[in-house]
């Protein structure tokens, strides 16, 4: 192919690139309006803080990817081994392949972060190194072991494919997760120490005198560990779904479309399924921050950072809508799905109302006249929606609604055969209805009790929602046993617009990570280490939200561009093979008994 043909073939991309380049060029005068301070030892153009911020954020995004995807891979491999479904094996391998490139990117950004910290913030680094030196050596050592495990895991995939060898291979996958999680826990201790150093550490305490374990296992360490562990699984699933969406849109054959439609569904299912418990982990972290220091808690939730929570509510609202949208469109490819279509509009009303309640600010952006009409920044009628009682109620009802969408999706093509199917379904409905009433009750009752009591109500709301999810799902699994089918899921027969919902989900997740990471880190304000070591650099002031949003957006764009490169490279290493699959490969839980083997991907590479 000569250059002209190549250019003609790629003309869409070239036009798009030129358009983006042109827009950036047009935006330069806007950028020039910002004054960029220049300091002696400052990082050129963007300043030391932005340099460290970007390196840390992009490193973190890659780290989440390389920790989240192995979780996904090892679960998929387990399904392939114990459920005897080879296509999950191929799925697991396809994603481990992407890890090879992503690991290098993670390490490169980690190295960059390290160099930037040691050169731009040497005092802080020396201090941390003096306390955490030993754990830093272990961290580096584990990284070696983790890399070796990854390479062994990937390159022995075909060699150890059967029998005990396969179990051993799966064990390697588990080990990979253990090393990765340990590495994350270690790094988490350094950054959580900066937020919540032990109470007995003061500015006069020499770092050598700080007890290692009390610094390591500080107040916010475990909440961050759990929050990140869950979030990584969510992120891994979302990336997998976005990758599948990209492949789906590029697919040229029905087999390819079927495969990537299925992959997108599985990725999204994991992302959204795990995501439903993420707010609870986040709530625990927030509460620990409050308990550690109320000033930080108020800065985060009611003070300067409170607007980030409105942005967060907006983005999570988008996530809920996109996730439900994807499931509802998916009903179109399931025989029997049309039974549930009339109900989606009522669920949509709950989601939109929940979205509105969740994103209603406590203190509103208003002009002078509007302020005068309201009698302050609190709206006399909508003001009640600004409190956590309303917001917790809204989010819990949105979680239940999303869960209901998933149930409809599961049930769509099944005809239950168990004698108690009707009773079971009524029980499911009753549990869901009771849970919704309990959530609403505590939401309303919260306005009539002292704040400290009201905070406790959110725990009851969370518990009833979790109980409902587990109980209803268990009943559903039992009802589905031996069920007849209305027909196979028509994988691949999904409108293209549904795939953009998967892109929306991954972009929103990535943005959320950056935004809320800023909130967690920014609450330290002018302290490197809270009330122990001040930030005495010219960047000590907490950045404005607009500036923060710009830096985070740059990080998101950088990460997504690089992850697109990883997808592309991953595709070059090994082309997927799509051939008919063995007939015993069925999965009643997700595919329905009508699953059509001829449309499914290959079992090996």
């Amino acid at each position: 192919m000569n250059v002209k043909d190549l250019l003609l073939e790629r003309k869409g991309w070239i036009v798009a690139l030129l358009a983006v380049g042109g827009m950036l060029l047009l935006a330069f005068p806007l950028v020039a309006q910002y004054s960029v301070p220049e300091y002696g030892d400052d990082f050129p153009l963007i300043g030391s803080r932005a340099a460290v911020w970007i390196a840390a954020q992009v490193h973190l995004m890659f780290a989440a990817f390389v920790l989240g995807v192995p979780m996904f891979a090892v679960i998929a491999e387990a399904v392939s081994i114990f459920g005897k479904q080879d296509r999950y094996d191929r799925l697991a391998k396809e994603f481990t392949r992407l890890l090879l490139v992503a690991y290098s990117a993670t390490a490169l950004w980690g190295g960059l972060l390290l160099f930037l910290l040691t050169t731009l913030y040497p005092t802080l680094w020396s201090y941390l190194a003096e306390i955490f030196g030993a754990s830093m050596w272990v961290y580096a050592g584990l990284f070696f072991i983790e890399s070796a495990t990854l390479y062994t895991y990937y390159y022995t995939w075909e060699r150890w494919k059967r029998g005990r060898a396969k179990l051993f291979h799966w064990g390697l996958g588990i080990l990979l997760n253990v090393w990765g999680t340990t590495v994350m826990f270690i790094a988490n201790s350094w950054l959580t120490y900066m937020t919540s150093p032990p109470a007995d550490v003061t500015p006069d305490t020499a770092p050598g005198m700080v007890q290692f374990w009390s610094a390591f296992a500080n107040a916010t360490w475990m909440p961050i560990n759990i929050h990140r562990l869950i979030a990584n699984a969510v992120f891994g699933g979302a990336i997998v779904a976005a990758y599948a969406a990209y492949r789906f849109l590029k697919a040229k054959t029905p087999e390819e479309r079927a495969h990537y439609d299925w992959m997108g569904y599985v990725g999204n299912l994991i992302a959204i399924g795990v995501f439903l418990v993420l707010p609870f982990a986040g709530y625990w972290l927030g509460r620990e921050i409050y308990e550690y220091n109320q000033q930080m808690g108020i800065t985060m939730m009611g003070g300067f950072m409170s607007w980030l929570w409105i942005v967060q509510a907006f983005l999570i609202g988008v996530l809920f809508l996109a996730a439900n949208y994807y499931l509802w469109i998916g009903l179109g490819r399931i025989p029997g799905g049309e039974r549930f279509a009339p109900y989606t509009k009522y669920m949509l009303v709950v989601l939109v109302l929940g979205f509105i309640v969740w994103a209603t600010p406590h203190s509103m952006i208003a002009t002078r006249d509007e302020l005068a009409a309201m009698g302050g920044t609190h709206h006399p009628f909508l003001g009640v929606l600004g409190l956590m009682s309303a917001k917790n109620t809204a989010v819990n009802l949105m979680i239940l609604t999303t869960f209901l969408s998933f149930l409809m999706y599961r049930r769509a093509n099944k005809i239950p055969t168990v004698s108690w199917a009707r009773t079971g379904t009524i029980s499911q409905g009753t549990i869901l209805a009771v849970a919704s009433i309990v959530v609403l009750f505590y939401g309303v009752y919260g306005y009539f009790v002292p704040t400290i009591v009201r905070i406790g109500f959110s725990v009851y709301q969370v518990l009833i929602v979790l109980f409902t999810i587990v109980a209803v799902l268990v009943i559903d699994v039992l009802i589905a046993r031996g069920a007849d089918t209305r027909g196979p899921i028509r994988w691949g027969q999904m409108p293209e617009r549904s795939q953009y919902a998967l892109f929306v989900i991954v972009v929103t997740f990535t943005w959320l990570m950056g935004l809320m990471g800023f909130a967690r880190s920014g609450i330290r304000q002018h302290w490197h280490i809270w009330e122990v070591m001040r930030d005495t650099s010219p960047h000590a002031a907490t950045p404005a939200l607009g500036y923060a949003a710009q830096v985070i957006s740059v990080c998101v764009i950088l990460f997504l561009l690089m992850i697109a490169f990883v997808f592309w490279i991953g595709g070059l290493i090994e082309k997927p093979q799509l051939v008919p699959q063995e007939t015993e490969d069925t999965d009643a839980a997700e595919l329905g008994p009508g699953y059509e083997p001829s449309l499914q991907p290959a079992t090996g590479d």
Binding site: N293, G302, G303, S306, L382, V384, P450, T451, A541
Partner: protein, 259 residues
């Protein structure tokens, strides 16, 4: 007409129109009919709400293949059919004009101050300097409450409130004092569950002691006319009036988390 009402495109427009009417005029005017006070929704929040409704409507029209096809039909017809040429020309003129007007209206110079963003509660310091003496805010309880001098403190707080606070915060503690209308933003209401009910007494002590001048630098400008009452009242006076506020409003202060 009736046929059109069954088409998703027109249904979507009707939902948007009804939502706008409810949000714009329903919220300020319906609650007062049942004795609940309300006010117009600020433009920023109205835009946010309408955006949410619009996304919801888009989800609804496109989550089903048949509905999506029917939704697009009138748009396609307006853009393609020869007999819809007048509609097409009208849209091609009106839509850019509308966008142009909105853009003009957004960027045209105004004498009003721009809409301000304001944090709910500024973050309190761990410790403050009160007339040269350190006072711990983090973890502090009202000493008058701890010493069992509640009734005495309430009476003292009563006197101080009516001498110093009532002109702005009002006889009923609802932020509707005689001077209130001279300020923007108006003085805070101290009733209800969304203001001091969410705060510890030491937080309120800090706010009274340091007033507007003592608000933290982050989150500026605060636009608060509240004086720094440490210049006029003693430490015990401020604790007394803090206790009075909660007693009079019939609410409990937030307590500290148990460790």
């Amino acid at each position: 007409m009736r046929k059109n009402l069954q088409e998703p495109f027109w249904q979507a427009l009707i939902v948007l129109a009804i939502s706008y009417v409810l949000l714009k005029w329903g919220i300020p005017y319906i609650p007062p009919l049942i004795g609940v006070s309300s006010a117009p929704v600020p433009q920023s929040v109205l835009v946010q709400f309408m955006l949410t409704v619009a996304v919801g409507v888009l989800v609804w029209v496109s989550d089903n293949e048949e509905r999506w096809r029917r939704f697009k039909q009138p748009i396609r017809e307006a853009l393609v059919l020869p007999e819809r040429k007048r509609v097409r020309v009208a849209l091609l003129v009106l839509l850019p004009l509308l966008v142009g007007f909105v853009t003009y209206d957004t960027v045209r110079p105004r004498v009003d101050a721009p809409a301000g963003i304001r944090a709910v509660h500024p973050a309190p310091p761990t410790q403050i300097d009160f007339r040269g003496e350190p006072v711990r805010i983090e973890g502090a309880e009202n000493p008058l409450r701890e010493e069992g001098r509640i009734e005495e403190a309430r009476e003292r707080g009563f006197d101080i409130y009516y001498q110093s606070c009532m002109p702005c915060h009002g006889d009923y503690l609802d932020g509707q004092g005689h001077f209130a209308h001279g300020y923007s933003p108006a003085p805070l209401t101290l009733r209800g569950g969304s203001t001091i009910a969410q705060l510890t007494e030491s937080y309120v002590f800090w706010r009274i002691a340091k007033g507007g001048p003592g608000l933290p630098r982050e989150g500026n400008p605060w636009n608060s006319a509240m004086p720094a009452w440490e210049d006029f009242l003693t430490e015990e006076d401020i604790w007394a009036v803090t206790l009075f506020l909660y007693e009079q409003a019939g609410i409990s202060p937030r307590t500290w988390e148990e460790h």
